[in-house]
């Protein structure tokens, strides 16, 4: 089972190491981890995807909560959350294939952000499945390089995960 958790941490040096170190030491499996500052620059928000059963998830949450620099840990129910990932993909292209690629890109509501005689760079956001699907489609043309951010996630509606009360 894959789970997604949001973690609000103090924005201090070494915090990422503490988090990733905890995962490796306790034998938890991180699928992806993405970090960025929150609206309050004193805090960062991490979205972490973990693989494991409910017992593992519970331990992950409890162990993370123990870290002094961790302010809040929240499980995100996939049914009630929006999840997004960004990928940029450099794909081989020439005059024969370019238009076909552009068609695929438009079907996926992705964007072309760089064009050169032998390649295109495509930007896509969406849930993991969508990014996977586009990647799959582009493979036939030859993916030269790809960068994916890993997932970010947020609960729908007015409920929030933040540092304050």
């Amino acid at each position: 089972m894959k789970h997604t958790i949001a973690v609000i941490v103090e924005n201090k040096p070494g915090v990422l190491t503490r988090i990733s170190g905890l995962f490796s030491r306790r034998g938890f499996n991180i699928e992806s981890l993405s970090v960025g500052a929150t609206d309050n620059p004193a805090y960062s928000r991490m979205t972490i995807s973990v693989e494991g059963d409910d017992v593992v998830l519970e331990q992950v949450v409890k162990q993370l909560s123990k870290l002094i620099n961790v302010i809040r840990v929240s499980r995100l129910d996939p049914q009630e959350s929006v999840e997004r990932e960004l990928a940029i993909i450099k794909v081989s292209a020439n005059k024969d294939t370019r238009s076909e690629i552009m068609q695929i890109v438009s079907v996926f509501r992705a964007r072309i952000i760089d064009v050169s005689p032998r390649s295109l760079i495509i930007e896509v956001t969406g849930d993991e499945k969508k990014v996977d699907a586009l990647q799959q489609m582009l493979r036939q043309f030859g993916i030269k390089e790809m960068a994916r951010t890993g997932k970010v996630s947020m609960v729908r509606g007015s409920k929030v995960v933040q540092a304050g009360p």
Partner: protein
């Protein structure tokens, strides 16, 4: 009014405000400004011979006094020498603050002389750690460090001190603690307390399993009241030893690998198991799948992450053991003495801890019993191995702060320096390190520390000439193939003691044991008592590693 001072002076001021009375340490280049400030302060500093001993001494001090122990080591090798001691304290939840020197902030990351990334190294073995980058942060960091070390589930905190921050000046201001991510729980969940009380009252075969958390929370009286009110038998872990008097009719002694047969049988038969401040270590549970198979499990722990970590828990109670037990006591009434209690008494009669006595050879168990008889109120510290298990089994523990041993990490070499720390913290108590000849040699150099600083600890070596516990496993599980467990010609410990300026005594026959002990205990100097015992003596009973608690072997020796 704010006062201007150097970082080094600020550190000493912080220690003073935290009530620190002694530091165990050893200097080095980057620590010179701090040691210089120490020179003009009235802070007591005990110079050790190896930094590992500084960490263990701080740990022993903390366990014996209930206060935070403090140790200090220089950058690089000094800092890495602390690591075993810090990990030992971490595994047993002992509050210590370890300070390490570090190279100047501008040199960090440049592989400077004697640089080690000690915050990186100790991240997994500290409750928290700090690298101070500016002298201004010193007061805040020290205040937080002591607070974190001693609150909630206690543990070691490390503070890394680059040389320049100890020289730079600052305006000293001791700020309030502001740690938004750290809220040690003080309240317990009333619904869970009521569920726990109901389960205990409905139990036909209750067993209480108490660990080190009871000791740290000072909850032994509440534990005693609960157990006697419920007439529930109590077994303790190695760390919980002394939290319930071993000579009480409800006492089951220790459980687990070298626990009593009756404790293990009781746990396997229990219908409700109340675990308090214990973490279901594998040395205790044996094979998890068949641990306490008939029991509903109630688990009280201050650390929420312990609940459900190793075993499934039916009724979790997150909170300090003293608070939780006090609440629980409000909801339980007197339970009668039942068939279950009688059953346990019959098991206790049937399977007592025992050993065969011998006229000609000293039995290590006999030495421990004699120590207990002659000095029942001593603080007993142990090394690791058979000596540790015999000390746990054959001493009658009745005071929670008087059994000091490395349970979680099982660190050989722990006992002697920890004994030094305990004696410094509680000079009025007799402190005896029950040692193996192997373990004692891991920090034997601290004889110098004890002698020079006039710390009259006693070391009772159960000298079997071998790494006894490992040899026991080889005997039982490796067809007596004694691969590298014979120490060979061990040094003459009496002469070693004398060379260091300590007292050395030896007993080679059972008839000499009592005299040696009397003389050793009467000595007001550090004293080594060397008891020559047989190398084939075994710790019994024993649950083989990975086996179920029901598969307990009684070993002949």
């Amino acid at each position: 009014m704010m006062v201007r001072m150097t970082g080094a002076e600020a550190i000493i001021e912080c220690l003073r405000r935290e009530g620190v009375e002694v530091i165990f340490g050893l200097p080095g280049g980057v620590l010179l400004p701090l040691y210089d400030a120490l020179y003009s302060s009235d802070m007591r500093h005990i110079l050790v011979r190896h930094e590992q001993a500084a960490a263990h001494a701080a740990d022993g001090y903390a366990r014996a006094t209930g206060r935070v122990g403090v140790c200090l080591a220089t950058s690089g090798p000094g800092a890495t020498n602390l690591v075993t001691g810090i990990a030992t304290a971490y595994m047993d939840s002992v509050p210590i603050v370890a300070m390490t020197g570090q190279v100047n902030t501008g040199l960090i990351g440049k592989d400077a002389f004697q640089e080690a990334d000690i915050t990186g190294i100790t991240m997994p073995i500290t409750k928290h750690n700090y690298l101070i980058k500016s002298s201004r942060d010193i007061p805040r960091v020290f205040r937080e460090a002591f607070y974190i070390a001693r609150t909630g589930r206690p543990g070691p905190v490390l503070i890394d001190l680059p040389r320049d921050i100890t020289v730079d000046e600052l305006e000293f201001d001791y700020p309030e603690i502001n740690l938004p991510g750290y809220n040690p729980s003080t309240k317990v969940h009333q619904l869970q307390i009521r569920r726990a009380a109901e389960a205990l009252m409905a139990a036909e075969r209750p067993v209480i399993y108490a660990g080190g958390g009871v000791r740290y929370a000072n909850a032994h009286e509440e534990l005693f009241q609960l157990a006697t009110r419920l007439n529930a038998p109590v077994t303790t872990t190695l760390m919980g030893m002394g939290c319930f008097p071993t000579d009480h009719p409800l006492s089951l002694g220790m459980l687990g690998m070298h626990g009593t047969k009756y404790a293990n049988l009781a746990v396997q038969e229990a219908d409700v198991l109340l675990a308090v401040g214990a973490r279901f270590d594998d040395r205790v549970t044996g094979k998890i799948a068949s641990f306490a198979p008939k029991a509903r499990i109630i688990h009280i722990d201050v650390d929420a992450a312990e609940i459900g970590k190793n075993v499934r828990v039916d009724i979790p109670v997150v909170g300090d053991a003293k608070i939780a037990l006090t609440e629980l006591l409000k909801h339980v009434q007197q339970r009668p003495w039942t068939e279950w209690n009688e059953k346990i008494l019959s098991w206790k009669r049937e399977y007592p801890l025992r050993y065969t006595r011998d006229e000609n050879v000293i039995k290590p168990q006999f030495v421990v019993e004699k120590i207990c008889e002659l000095c029942p109120d001593a603080i007993i510290v142990t090394e690791v191995g058979q000596n540790q298990m015999w000390a746990a089994q054959f001493f009658k523990h009745k005071d929670p702060r008087k059994f000091i041993t490395s349970g979680g990490l099982g660190t050989m070499g722990y006992g002697f320096p920890a004994a030094i720390g305990a004696k410094v913290g509680r000079p009025e108590c007799e402190v005896i390190d029950i040692a193996g000849d192997g373990s004692f040699q891991m920090n034997i150099q601290e004889l110098a520390t004890a002698v020079v600083n006039d710390i009259p600890v006693k070391i009772a070596i159960l000298n079997n000439g071998v790494l006894g516990m490992v040899r026991q496993w080889q005997t039982l599980f490796f067809g007596k193939r004694y691969s590298h467990t014979t120490l060979g010609d061990v040094p003459d410990f009496v002469k070693v003691a004398e060379a260091y300026g300590a007292v050395g005594l030896r007993a080679t026959k059972p008839s000499e044991v009592e005299d040696v002990l009397r003389e050793g205990l009467a000595s007001d100097r550090p004293t080594v008592m060397d008891f020559i015992v047989h190398r084939d003596e075994k710790v019994s009973p024993m649950v083989p590693a990975g086996a179920s608690l029901s598969e307990i072997l009684e070993l002949e020796s």
